[in-house]
Amino acid sequence: MDINDIIKPENRVYKRPALLNDTHMHYCPGCSHGVVHKLIAEILEEMNAEDKAIGVAPVGCAVFAYNYIDVDFIEAAHGRAPAVATAIKRLQPDKLVFTYQGDGDLAAIGTAETIHAANRGENIAIVFINNAIYGMTGGQMAPTTLLGMKTATTPYGRRADLNGYPLAISNLVAQLDGACYVTRQSVHTPAAVRKAKAAIRKAFENSMAGKGTSLVEIVSTCNSGWKLPPVQANEWMKEHMFEKYPIGDLKNV
């Protein structure tokens, strides 16, 4: 069979989602952000939610998320996405409201907003990219940076006595009465991508069902910040990140 007999519209089993804008993403090669953007676009399409979805973009590498995912978006100040999402959802309860945040945004400068939005049980979904480093500003230490991990501001490795410990913020959020679903996923293999997609979809459905706050942590890579090629970064993540941030549900009520 000739390859041109296979590549026909009726044989297509995987396509670029329509809600992912036809543009070049600014992310570094191999960046997990692209995969998660694609999943969100797929899920919103499958839920027929493009007319009622309102995303909240963070400050960090995903600051331009609104240029890629074709739904209404508000760009939040650094760390304030859960506060922004709170108001959107309270004022427009029929909308599907989600934030998209990195570890610095969600677990450092925005810790208060994260904890309190979840504690109030705001009916929002939080997608949390944890790559243990500040990507956009050039690879500085994040709250989730592992002990011993080298970054631009921990050039000799993170030390507990100098920098404190890596923050497993999803475990904190899971303890809050307002949080209905807290899970940790990754997107480094096709199987992981499928599970991450199911998790984000569940979080979005919870938002519409009014079940409370959902948080989906995606343990991710930052090839540029980690100074590793993408495939090796995935290996490094499996070896080191999953120990501190094990994959699986932390809460599901």
């Binding site: 390859i3 026909k8 670029r16 952000h33 692209g34 293999t189 096709p190 499928r194 495939v231």
Partner: protein, 76 residues
């Protein structure tokens, strides 16, 4: 038994040559162009062994730039 045949198309200009698709392919179908680069200077991915493709979409799922589309047929 019918044999599954697959093929992928790759948006060469969107590809950043991260090679995650290459690593995730269970059938060793994909490679990065050894010499050719796209307009942004990346060695983009291509089907170096197209006859092996089973259309499983593993490559497309892990592709961060959504530049892979997957096709699949059952060969009679």
């Amino acid at each position: 038994m019918a044999k599954i045949r697959g093929a992928v198309t790759i948006d060469e200009e969107k590809c950043k040559g991260c090679s995650l698709c290459v690593a995730s392919c269970p059938a060793d179908v994909l490679s990065l162009q050894p010499k050719e680069v796209n307009n942004r200077g990346y060695h983009y991915a291509f089907m170096s062994s197209p006859e092996k493709c089973i259309g499983c979409a593993s490559c497309a799922m892990v592709c961060p730039d959504a530049c892979i589309e997957v096709y699949r047929v059952k060969e009679p």
